[in-house]
Symmetry: C2
């Protein structure tokens, strides 16, 4: 099936190619977005596009005109590949010297996070690698992603679902593939972008929805002891939405089960995202 779009063509995954001398390959000069398309439609696609364009600017990549047709391309991929619920990844590379940027879009079934995982909740370990909050790449979803991938692989080897990265000053920054939220004294807190959190689209949605629902929520400094002593905690990304986090480094958070504020925010998010 032709489930990959590359520079205007729909091709089978195995046939999609890029120029080998693309700066995206040689130096990581490229950005990406991952989002979920339900019935061909993407929640807050404009915000994914805004972040993509900001990242492209950081890396001096001229965004291609085809981005304007992104909703139609995503619908077409979902149709061709018969995906009611798709995990879509968009990758924009700088191109070879003197050449044009490349736009690559892949669609797969969104099966990464099965329903029972929301009931039991996810486990995490704190990674040995730090998030480098002094780098503009910390605020940008770029192809320089191996620190996250290696941290996640190490977490999986240790039997956990996710890795949590501290920043250079020892504060909680982010997950490898998720943003992190903690609840203390009934207040919801998430690390600031300045502390190394990727400005996640789902993170932004949860901040908004919580605030609208009258739940106290704050982007702030989060220390490892704020995390370890949390009543409840959760992770967010565009594929999973709101995922309960129930243990860190083998120690339970709260009673070790998804908490009530987490459940409420997950409901609010799912309602909004599938509206």
């Amino acid at each position: 099936m032709r489930c990959v779009y590359v520079n205007g063509e729909y091709v089978p995954a195995g046939e999609a190619t890029l120029p080998a001398l693309d700066a995206g390959v040689l130096f990581g000069r490229g950005v990406f977005e991952t989002f979920r398309a339900r019935q061909g439609s993407v929640y807050r696609l404009d915000e994914h596009l805004r972040r993509l364009r900001a990242g492209a600017e950081t890396l001096s990549i001229a965004p291609p005109a085809a981005l304007a047709e992104l909703p139609a391309i995503v619908r077409e991929l979902a149709r061709r590949c018969e995906l009611d619920d798709a995990r879509v990844r968009l990758t924009l590379t700088a191109g070879a010297e003197g050449g044009a940027p490349s736009l690559l879009i892949q669609a797969k079934p969104a099966t990464d996070y099965p329903p029972p995982m929301y009931e039991r909740g996810a486990s995490a370990v704190v990674a040995s690698v730090r998030r480098n909050e002094t780098s503009p790449l910390a605020r940008t979803k770029t192809l320089n992603f191996m620190d996250n991938v290696l941290a996640r692989e190490a977490a999986r080897s240790a039997g956990a679902d996710e890795a949590i990265l501290l920043n250079g000053r020892g504060l909680v920054a982010d997950g490898s593939a998720f943003n992190v939220f903690v609840v203390r004294d009934g207040h919801v807190r998430t690390p600031m972008v300045e502390d190394g959190a990727l400005p996640g689209v789902t993170r932004g949605a949860v901040l908004e929805l919580a605030s609208e629902a009258g739940i106290a929520v704050e982007e702030t400094t989060v220390t490892p002891s704020d995390l370890g002593g949390a009543e409840e905690a959760f992770l967010t990304n565009a594929i999973a939405g709101v995922m309960p986090l129930v243990s860190v480094d083998g120690a339970k958070l709260g009673d070790g089960r998804p908490g009530p504020l987490t459940r409420r925010l997950r409901e609010l998010y799912e309602r909004d995202a599938t509206d």
Copy 2:
């Protein structure tokens, strides 16, 4: 001219392609080496290969059998492209899921560092981004290279030749494309790998050659004031060899001209490298 080798074929630069879904593209799961081939022959090629293999292991990439033929491939590229003095870049990517790694080798004229630059010496600025010495990628030459590229571009915009990166603890770690050496009280010092220095092949050669020549040399902690107060300083990489560094952030080092120990080490290096 067919100056690019990709997975067993010699092709023109514009025709070299890689699978778009290569993990080297999508996540930066790949390593590279850059070296100089004079008359088709590479100084300390075995050490470049050793570092490449160590990096491949860090990223769980199985090194392809073709690496054993690297000397012949480099000679063939130099012959085909009529390059007496070539800048060669080897890139090894992890490949697409279920696919094989890709080996890409490019050759160009080694014209980056013209002779007058060694006479006047290079200038550097200290970058705002830090080198993340907590990451295994700091010790590995990977495709996650944009922090270095952006730091160097910012240095060039500021009128300097190179960017110097401090680590998370504020110690001198490395240049963006060079290792850094300083001379104080007649002693030659270079930052430790533990402090975020890439273990450069030319760095290793200079450490050896200096030691053999009875010059006091040490891998150690280097502070910004060690750098600012240096009698002389120099940069090393496999293309430039030993490049004098004569100013940092607009302030002269020593008398602002290439120093005697730098000149001596450059001679020792050039003699050894062109033997």
